[in-house]
């Protein structure tokens, strides 16, 4: 396997991109568009950004991706949390961003009517997925939930403000009659969706979050337990995930 040593440059996964656009999209979230040599991505994959004074890179879902000649534009949406996201917020158009991509497995796309669920910033990968489903003429419906009107990020078919989006899932399953469900949200919502869709026997893809160190599957810092064929084993959210099948996750 000598070819292994001739590192294929197309395979390179570390990029220095340039910020093309950065703007506020809600009371506490921003959109950042990065121009880079990244060649292709899948919906549900993420990038991992090096942030000033941080030992650990920070993962962000890909919210949009467009090829531009030999280069591409990658969009992320980020919510202000702590130091890293405040650092990202401080960046300006033209600043460079060091990121690893594309990371993770991404969503499987079935040719079936889909219900998309996002809570808070979990809308980010759903917007990308929705665009892709539309492109492929796959019927879909995106429902999202936000804590307040100020926090709403646009792009959904239905937006729930206050309360929890979980309370509306049964209703939308009845209305939309989806065959596949996708969800990105905090753990409580993911868990709730997992319970509901299991009852309805719906194929469900859940995008999880865990604190990551290496983001390539080696450190085992981000593992969760899955049960497959009655066997329990560890899977990394960064490499085996972040998307897992409903019904297989053992919630901590």
């Amino acid at each position: 396997m000598l070819s292994f040593f001739l590192r294929n440059l197309d395979m390179k996964k570390e990029f220095i991109g340039k910020i093309e656009q950065i703007e506020k999209i809600s009371s506490d979230a921003f959109k950042m568009v990065i121009l880079s040599d990244l060649q292709s991505v899948k919906c549900g994959q993420f990038i991992s950004i090096l942030c000033e004074n941080k030992t650990l890179r920070r993962p962000f879902s890909i919210a949009d991706f467009e090829k531009e000649a030999n280069q591409s534009l990658t969009t992320i949406l980020f919510k202000i949390k702590g130091q890293a996201t405040n650092y990202l917020k401080s960046l300006k158009i033209g600043d460079s961003v060091d990121f690893l991509a594309p990371l993770g497995n991404g969503f499987e796309i079935d040719n079936k009517k889909a219900l998309l669920i996002g809570a808070g910033i979990g809308i980010a990968p759903m917007l990308f997925l929705k665009k892709e489903l539309n492109k492929r003429n796959i019927e879909n419906y995106l429902i999202t939930g936000f804590k307040s009107r100020q926090e709403v990020i646009k792009g959904s078919d239905r937006t729930i403000i206050g309360g929890t989006v979980l309370d509306y899932i049964e209703e939308e399953i009845k209305n939309q009659k989806p065959q596949t469900v996708y969800c990105c949200a905090p753990t409580v919502v993911l868990k709730g969706v997992d319970n509901i869709t299991r009852k309805h026997n719906l194929k469900t893809y859940l995008a999880l979050e865990k604190v990551m160190a290496c983001s390539i599957g080696v450190c085992r810092g981000c593992v969760i337990k899955l049960i497959k064929d009655k066997k329990i084993a560890n899977y990394s959210v960064c490499k085996d995930g972040p998307v897992f099948l409903g019904g297989e996750i053992i919630w901590e």
Partner: protein, 313 residues
């Protein structure tokens, strides 16, 4: 020009045992996986070796709950030695290392002396050239740390391993001790060929959130690593290299060229890089190129020449 000038040999003068490294830069255990995981980021020709994830006799799933806690200049981990176990390592991981000609140190950990003996015997049987014995993992309830903190038990353990394993034997020491010199001396007299140090320091991460007039506390106890532990590592490597003649591999917070120089100044013969890979996955390649270029520019033909000059500087 290439990086041939980085080639170096670690040698135990007493036994004649040696380890040839293409470069003195090694991926530290637990941060480099088992074999080719970094191939999208690093050209492996720049890598002296990989130290594998710590391998135990049986497969382990590791700790439940949060495993990573970031702190300023580093992180606390409590992975708990999640690994595939020696059997799967030999059958699934080793062939890939061989196929790709990747030099490696098999890093092992156990609960009992018998565990270590069995693992060492398997390494011997499989003709594994270098063994790194973790006697210093702070993240598991019993086992390795207990051996690693007492000179007598450490001597006993290493003598047992030495009896069954003939290859290059490296002992990885814990910094969580009052007396690193006695540990190092015990390691040397028990017949080990090399000492690597340091493993992670014991640490506690605490996060307090104040939400709706209420405090929420989160704590993560585990091993501290990263740039913040470098001064401790420098101290330990200095102590160790002044106490023993066998070569010392420096570990702890290494991320840039000046770090390599600093560790050489206190007696290090090679370097392991851990946490720095997480922020810069090509750090080892970058360091190899920078080190090699520095040597060419300043007329150092060999790494050993450079080491000598820095040490005497």
């Amino acid at each position: 020009m290439g990086i041939e000038n980085l080639k170096t040999t670690l040698k135990n003068e007493k036994t004649g045992n040696s380890l040839i490294l293409k470069t003195p830069l090694i991926g530290a255990s637990g941060t480099w996986g088992y074999n080719v995981e970094y191939q999208d980021y690093v050209d492996y020709k720049y890598l002296g070796a990989i130290s594998t994830k710590g391998i135990t006799l049986e497969e382990r799933l590791g700790n439940v709950g949060e495993r990573i806690f970031e702190v300023f200049g580093g992180l606390i981990n409590r992975i708990g030695l999640e690994n595939v176990g020696i059997e799967a390592f030999i059958s699934d991981k080793l062939p890939i290392l061989k196929e790709n000609n990747i030099d490696f140190l098999l890093n092992i950990a156990g609960n009992t002396i018998e565990d270590y003996e069995k693992l060492a015997l398997i390494a011997q049987t499989n003709n594994i050239k270098a063994l790194e014995v973790n006697v210093s993992c702070p993240n598991v309830k019993k086992g390795c740390l207990e051996f690693g903190l007492n000179p007598e038990s450490l001597y006993f353990l290493i003598s047992k391993i030495r009896k069954v394993y003939e290859g290059f034997l490296i002992i990885k020491l814990s910094p969580n001790t009052q007396d690193i010199k006695s540990l190092a001396t015990a390691v040397e007299s028990a017949g080990a060929d090399c000492i690597s140090a340091i493993n992670t320091l014991r640490g506690l991460g605490v996060k307090i959130d104040y939400i709706n007039n209420k405090f929420y506390k989160k704590t993560v106890q585990g091993g501290l690593s990263g740039t913040c532990i470098k001064p401790v590592a420098l101290y330990m490597v200095n102590q160790i290299s002044s106490a023993v003649k066998i070569p010392v591999m420096a570990i702890g917070g290494i991320s840039k060229l000046s770090d390599l120089f600093e560790f050489m100044a206190v007696g290090a013969s090679a370097f392991q890089i851990g946490t720095a890979n997480f922020s810069n996955p090509s750090v080892i390649e970058d360091l190899a190129i920078e080190l090699s270029e520095f040597m060419q520019k300043n007329n150092y033909k060999t790494f050993d020449d450079l080491k000598k000059d820095i040490k005497n500087g």
